[in-house]
Structure formats: C-alpha cells, structure tokens
Amino acid sequence: MIQMSNDRFDKLKNWVDGTGPEHKHMQRSQQLDAVHYDTPKPEKTVAQQKASFNTFFKAYKQVAAVLVGVIAVFFFIAIFSMPEFGNPDNPTNNEVVERYVGSAEHETGAENVIAGMILNYRGFDTFGESNVLFIAACCVMMLLWRDKKCFTDEDRIALELEKRHEERDVILSVIGKIAIPVILVFGICVLFNGHVSPGGGFSGGSILGASLIIFSVTYGSDAVRRFMSERVYNIIRISGLCIYGVLFFIYIYCGANGIENGLAQLLVIIIDIAVGLVVMSTMFGFYAFYTKGEL
C-alpha cells in the first residue's frame, strides 16, 4: 500500500515538475524552440531605428490627414443636405413641436417652454442626465479620494508642506471678494427663475458650482469646509436626486397630465432646484477632488 502510494507520489511529482516519461518529447521540442529563438537577430543600428521612426511619423501624419479629409467630406455632405435654418417647412416642425409650444404653458405651468419640455414632457431624459452626473461624481470620488485613515507619516508631512506652501494670489482674492456675491446671486436668480426665463437647473447649477470653486480658490478650502463638510455635500447630492426621482414618479403615477396648473408649476420649480443641486455638487466635487482629494 505504502509502496503504491509512493509510486503515485513520484508520478505526481514528475508530472508537476515536468520530468516524467511523457514529457520527454516536450522537453525536446522546448530545446528545439530555444535553439530556434536563440539565434541572434541582426541588431538595428541607432541610425536605422531613427529612420524607421521618421518614416512611421511621416506615414502617421499622412494617414491622419487623409482620414480627417474623408470625415470632413462626409460632414460637409451632411451639412449641405440639411434643410435651411428656421424654415417653417422643415421636418422638425411637426405636430410634436406644435403641441409643446402650444400647450406647454397651460399644461406644465412653465412660461419658459424649454423648462416645461425638459422637466415635464421629457422628465425621464433629464432624470437620466442627473443620474449620469451623480455617477460621474461618485467615480471621481472613488478614484481621487484621499482617505486619512490610510495615511502614512510621509503622506501627512507632505500634506503639511503643501498647506504651508499654499499662498493666495492678491489679485485673485481682491477680485474674488467683489465677484463672488454677484455670481452667487446671479446663479440663484437663474436657478429659481428657470420656469419663466432662460436658465434652469443645469445653467443655474453650473453657475453656482463655478462660484463655489472661486470661493474655494480665494478663501481656501477651510472656509468652504465650514459650511460644506463631506456629510453636507453627500446629503445635498443624494437629496437632490431623491427629490427629483420621488416627485417625478409620483407625478407619472398620478397620470402625468391631470394635476392643476399651479401644482404643475410648483413641481417644475422644485425639480429645477433639485437638478441645480445635483449639478452644483457635481461641479464643485470635481474641483475639490481634483485639487485636494477631499472636500
């Protein structure tokens, strides 16, 4: 019994090491391969390598130019076959546009037809866009977040040095002090008046995000952290998306068209603000995580 198991063990060992009788032909072929590959290739001189690189880059440029030309020809064909801009007989001017322009104010309560269109008729579309922004911010957080629990001492020293070297530009801080309130008020105005004037969630949110970025540059990240910690930031992001989702799906569940004009207007305003919150937090989050890896 023991003898047999020893035999088996030897077999297994030989099989693992590749030294058994069934591996002989393989060893031979390997040796042959080795002989085949070991034959020294004629080495290229530096000049030859340079010449081959030069030909490659020349060919690269020529091929790129040809490809760009071909694509440009296709684009120009497409442009010249397009109908005239603003012509009332265009195929885009059909019953859908008539319906939107004609009854958007009555049905959605938004004087700005575009706001009524993107937040009410095409609400699912805008919900998807907000989700894309939310997930983009999540991915940036995942990639660039510096977790302080995982810091080594060297990281801490480097961070300290970075903070000490951080100096504010005089011109930037003076102009920032004047410009930030104006930009903030303009952003809020655009955001809250999205249903009556051009603007709305996306533009107002990006203006607010830009003003937060300027604030962070002029006053430093500590000043931002005073009112927007990581917790507050996450609450703003998630609550924006949740308000949108819940309200819009209640609206769809109610039949999407049977509610009163005033309620519909309120719905458009609230959804606009929710989109603005998501866009603002995404813009500011990109900036914060790009620069410091934290809020």
Binding site: F85, N112, I114, H165, V190, P198, G199, G200, F202, S203, S206, I207, G209, A210, I213, M283, F286, Y287, Y290, T291
Partner: protein, 86 residues
C-alpha cells in the same frame, strides 16, 4: 450688421478650433479652448438659444477650463514658480 458679427464669430470659431489642436504647449491649448467656448456661447445667443448660451458660458468657458488646468497641474505640465530654487 448682425450677419457680419456672426461671420466674424464663425471664423473665430474655426480658427480657435484649429489653433487649439495645433499648439505644442498644452497650457495654450486649454486657453484657446476656453476662448472657443466663449465664442460658442455668444453664437448660441445669436441662434436664439439663451438656455444653452448660459450653460455653455458657465461650463465650456469656466468650469471645464479649470478642470483642465488642474489636470495639467496634476501631471506636471504646468511649471510653478517654485520657491525651492531661490
């Protein structure tokens, strides 16, 4: 008058688009790209799309430029005037 202004803007759009692709320095590319975004936002205004114009001015000319600058700083393509040498 409007048509002349529009033509100037369109020519500027093409020039900035080609120039930003042909720059050797990445910093110049980003600067010209933000100029492209600004021209584009004025053009949206002329095409009677004020919603898009506001968004383009905030995103194309503002925030995306900032993000590009930050990326260039991260990959050390912008030289800072470092105090270590002095």
């Amino acid at each position: 008058m409007d048509a002349v202004f529009e033509c100037i803007l369109l020519i500027g759009l093409v020039v900035t688009a080609i120039a930003s692709a042909l720059q050797k320095k990445l910093l110049n590319t980003v600067l010209i790209y933000t100029a492209y975004g600004l021209i584009m936002s004025v053009l949206w205004m002329l095409l009677r799309a004020p919603d898009l114009a506001i968004t383009e001015a905030a995103v194309g000319a503002g925030v995306s430029g900032v993000l590009f600058f930050l990326t260039l700083k991260k990959i050390h393509k912008i030289k800072e005037h470092d105090s270590d040498e002095q």
